[in-house]
């Protein structure tokens, strides 16, 4: 016991000597580190190689984050916008996302299951056999839940499974989902009017001369090629395309390859859809609309000096 204590002391002394021998360039506070305690390895940012992870951790945007607008389908970067961190760089809150997804799931339940009680089952209510004297169990009407063909005792009846969620929570969850995508580099914003440009040779004959499934087969092969070239296909975890309204070519092509992803218009998109696929590709106007619709926690409805307090600006163009 005693020898161990002496050993500890020795170590501490050695540590002291080392810290004293360090060059004077170290800061004042560093010289008085508590060398009696267990020393944690000091961070030496200059010497350790910079990794992608450490780079990302060192970046803490305060007001805005950049968003590149691409052309579609070539995915050529076209312009640069700055979006507020309140819109696209919220911290990940899994609890909010869970609440939102459950809320959406509850509200999309059909709730039409319906069974008949003994009072709904068709037939006469005559007593099936005398109460006494047959040697068998007493029995009332044919609709008894104990009998085959009888009513169901506590069966399902149509009801609304919908639950409620505070609007501000849901809106924040929506932006959290978008932020999560952005942070992971899985959110690709394209210019308005996103539509799949087909080869001219196809356009010439597409409507009249490609019949009996030839057109669908062509779209299938072409779209698979496009998605794999752009890194959006199945091997990258599928892709969700969001547009303002239905775009015939894009939607038709995506319907041929449901295993590569899907295309939805703005009204059909939920938080769950945003979280589902590997990549999300959406129009610039769709992003604006989404955030405009889901910023109730940033925008006040109380009017002060004749003006309600608005949220941060939506996407300011930089380049």
């Amino acid at each position: 016991m005693a020898s161990k204590g002496i050993g500890c002391l020795g170590e501490a002394m050695a540590a002291l000597r080392i810290s004293a021998a360090k060059p004077a360039t170290t800061s004042f506070s560093r010289q008085f580190t508590r060398s009696m305690a267990t020393e944690a390895p000091l961070k030496q940012a200059a010497n350790s190689p910079v990794t992608a992870q450490s780079l990302m951790q060192s970046w803490n945007p305060i007001s805005t984050v950049p968003v590149t607008i691409h052309s579609f389908p070539s995915l050529e970067p076209q312009s640069l916008e700055q979006w507020s961190v309140q819109h696209l760089y919220l911290p990940l809150r899994r609890d909010l996302l869970h609440l939102a997804v459950v809320y959406e799931g509850d509200n999309t339940r059909q709730g039409t299951a319906s069974s008949k009680t003994r009072y709904d089952v068709h037939g006469s209510h005559r007593k099936m056999r005398p109460q006494k004297g047959t040697g068998r169990a007493r029995l009332g009407s044919r609709q008894s839940p104990l009998l085959r063909g009888g009513g169901k005792t506590f069966g399902p009846h149509p009801r609304d499974f919908g639950t409620r969620l505070n609007r501000k929570v849901y809106d924040k969850a929506w932006r959290t989902a978008l932020s999560y995508r952005y942070r992971r580099g899985e959110l690709i914003i394209c210019e308005d009017g996103m539509e799949l440009a087909m080869p001219q040779d196809f356009d010439l004959v597409a409507d009249k001369f490609l019949k009996d499934g030839l057109r669908e087969a062509y779209l299938k092969k072409y779209m698979s090629g496009v998605l794999s070239t752009l890194g959006l296909g199945k091997e990258y975890g599928r892709t969700l395309f969001v547009t303002g309204d239905r775009r015939d070519r894009l939607y038709e092509a995506m319907e041929q390859v449901p295993w590569e992803g899907r295309a939805l218009d703005l009204e059909d998109v939920d938080v769950k859809d945003l979280l589902e696929t590997g990549k999300v590709v959406m129009e610039r106007s769709v992003l604006r609309e989404m955030i405009e619709q889901h910023q109730s926690d940033l925008v006040s409805r109380i009017v002060v000096n004749g003006l309600p307090k608005g949220g941060p600006p939506l996407g300011e163009k930089e380049l």
């Binding site: 945007p61 009249k208 030839l214």
Partner: protein
């Protein structure tokens, strides 16, 4: 054309000995003058609500009579055959380069064939028949999916993964951006598409320039105007892929440069331009959120280069030769199944023979269904 023929037909002096077409055909000349038909176009448009189908004058279309002209035979033949061929395929199909399936053809029925050819023997099996897949696999068949249907995005189709090669391309991008800045056209060209620069010469030109960095400010020493000229030239885009650089070449190149060029400080436009150019040349698209963290070109390289995929545990163990000196441990390439065990003791051949003798399936269940009990136990039914 049709009008002219009908006019010729209508000339009475011609039809002396030649077989005459019927009266209706001969009366192919229209009583409606072309000028009048022009006048009626508007009402046809109103009636059909848009483009009216069919010719303006239906009477001229009555039955094409055999051509009876004074033209020499050769000219006649060539013109008539080419017209008939042209008439069959629509213009759109002719212009499109897609390989479309041919028209439906019908073969004479067996009875007719037998009547015409006494040596005809009906086939008893399908041997020797050409196999044609269904239309759903039409585009998968060789020769049907051509160059015209290939999609080409903005980014390079060949994705660069090696860090050394990426560094070469990044240097090229930095030099090009600096050249544009020196020429004072960077603001205008930052978001535009730069010329792809498929030629090796252009790349060597860009890489030959020296970059000197002092406190993040970079200056370009070299032929900046020539580099900028090559980028901004509106010359026709030659379909060419960026020159392929091998890893060894790239290593040589990166060694020859002073590594200080990587300290060039980035601002938003430069970041955007480098990202775009890097995507164009290498197919690597750095996400916005990552790119914004980069302050120097070195950081871009760190973010763009992907670490090699980590080995699987089995590969690590094999590499380390972890079980080499353990006498009681054997490593197999795949799971040891019941057949492998029988093979190991030399019984499998016998079993296989016996099974075959009894006409039982060697592996699997044959026609017998899988046992239901397993599904009951696992709760599938």
């Amino acid at each position: 054309m049709r009008r002219l023929q009908s006019l010729q037909l209508a000339v009475p002096s011609q039809c002396a000995a030649a077989p005459r077409p019927s009266f209706a055909a001969a009366r192919a000349i229209s009583t409606t003058s072309p000028a009048r038909s022009k006048n009626t176009d508007w009402i046809r448009g109103k009636l059909w609500k848009g483009e009216a189908p069919g010719p303006a004058d239906p009477y001229t279309q009555r039955m094409e009579p055999e051509a009876q002209t004074n033209l020499p035979e050769e000219a006649l033949e060539s013109s008539s055959s080419s017209r008939s061929r042209r008439d069959k395929t629509p213009a759109a199909v002719r212009e499109s380069r897609l390989a479309l399936p041919g028209r439906r053809t019908e073969v004479a029925a067996e009875k007719e064939l037998q009547a015409s050819d006494p040596t005809y023997v009906p086939a008893a099996d399908a041997e020797g028949l050409e196999e044609i897949g269904p239309l759903s696999t039409w585009w998968e068949q060789p020769g049907h999916w051509g160059e015209e249907s290939e999609f080409k995005g903005f980014g390079s189709a060949v994705k660069v993964v090696e860090k050394e090669v990426l560094e070469v391309y990044l240097r090229r991008a930095v030099v090009e951006a600096l050249a544009l800045q020196q020429k004072g056209v960077f603001a205008e060209w930052a978001t535009k598409k730069w010329s792809e620069g498929g030629a090796r010469g252009e790349m060597d030109q860009a890489l030959a320039a020296q970059v000197e960095v002092q406190d993040g400010k970079a200056t370009l020493k070299g032929d900046a105007s020539a580099i900028a000229e090559a980028l901004t030239s509106e010359a026709e885009e030659v379909e060419s892929t960026p020159p392929v650089i091998t890893v060894e070449e790239a290593r040589e190149m990166t060694k020859s440069w002073d590594s200080s060029w990587k300290n060039v400080a980035l601002d938003n436009p430069l970041r955007f331009a480098l990202r775009k150019r890097l995507y164009q040349l290498t197919g690597v698209l750095i996400p916005d959120a990552k790119l914004a963290a980069a302050n120097t070109a070195k950081h871009i390289l760190t973010l763009a280069a992907r670490d090699p995929k980590p080995l699987k545990l089995a590969q690590v163990l094999e590499k380390r030769n972890a079980f080499g000196d353990l006498a009681n441990v054997k490593v197999h390439e795949r799971r040891v199944g019941p057949i492998d065990k029988e093979v190991a003791v030399g019984r499998w051949k016998v079993i296989e023979e016996e099974l075959k003798k009894r006409d039982l399936p060697v592996t699997g269940y044959g026609d017998a269904p899988r046992n239901k009990e397993r599904d009951w136990l696992t709760g599938k039914i």
